[in-house]
Amino acid sequence: MTPERASIWVARWVRLYTLGLPPAVAERRREEIGADMGDHIAHERSVGEGDSRIATAVVSRMARGMTADVTWRWRAQPTKGDFMKPLIALLVVGLAVAAVAFVADSPLLLLASVAVIGSVILGVFILGVRAAQEGDFVVPYVVILGAALAIAALAVTAIVAGAWDDAPGLVLLGIVLIVTDIVGVFTLGLRSAQRSN
């Protein structure tokens, strides 16, 4: 890959995460990184660095800064609205469906309630991650561990129940929860460690 090709990839990424921002804010970020990459490539060439190494360095700078880009984007224009109320309403609906499923002994309804409750937990977890990033929270490790264990327990239950009842939907839900768990814990843990330094 040439450095110019790498800089096109970076420019595409910058365009992606600045989409929807006020034009002045987006344009400033695009121009700044464009100028930075131009300087970077020119400097490395002037000291005799090979094109493939320059391209790797440019892509590496993009990749290592992606988390910061996303949190910057979130800070630049946070999503408006209170998400907790609809999530709580959804949780109540999920619990109600679960109760009906229990009374009616309906596996289909039970599956639906697990899906709804799983979505709520997932939503709360994602919101927690975003709030932590947006507000520069330092998350105590015990909270991370507690949330991670709760989600992992739910995921394992879903996978085991799904395998036992031959319900691929439940197994899939369990897998999604585990992946989200790992990503969320990693993100929160990493950021907490950074903030604590």
Partner: protein, 116 residues
């Protein structure tokens, strides 16, 4: 969850201020993103340059706090994209002097950043 303690800067922000102050002392009051990343790499002895996202997010925060000011380069060289030039403000110089090694301050700077 506890919010990041007010009055502290992130390590990357401290590093930027230290480098900005050393550049100021060596007669270069303004700097651009890549130049700063290069200086930071040299001073820290690191092999890689600071990532774009990390660098420009930190610069933006320092500007919000009134520690840095910035403007666009007026005459770009050789048709290159214009650079955003940064410099320490009066308040920024004070803060940077507090955190820079070799100054009298033995403790972390008791400075409360408030976005302006």
């Amino acid at each position: 969850m506890s919010r990041r303690r007010i009055g502290t800067l992130l390590p990357i922000e401290n590093e930027i201020l230290e480098v900005a102050l050393s550049m100021l002392r060596s007669g270069r009051p303004t700097f651009h993103g890549f130049g700063l990343a290069q200086q930071m790499r040299e001073q820290s002895g690191s092999r890689s340059l600071t990532a774009h996202g990390t660098l420009y997010k930190a610069l933006g925060r320092l500007e919000e706090f009134g520690i840095l000011a910035s403007h666009w380069q007026e005459d770009p060289i050789d048709g290159r994209p214009r650079r955003r030039l940064y410099q320490l403000t009066g308040k920024g110089i004070e803060v940077a002097q507090e955190i820079a090694p070799g100054t009298n301050s033995a403790v972390a700077p008791a400075w409360a950043p408030e976005p302006i």
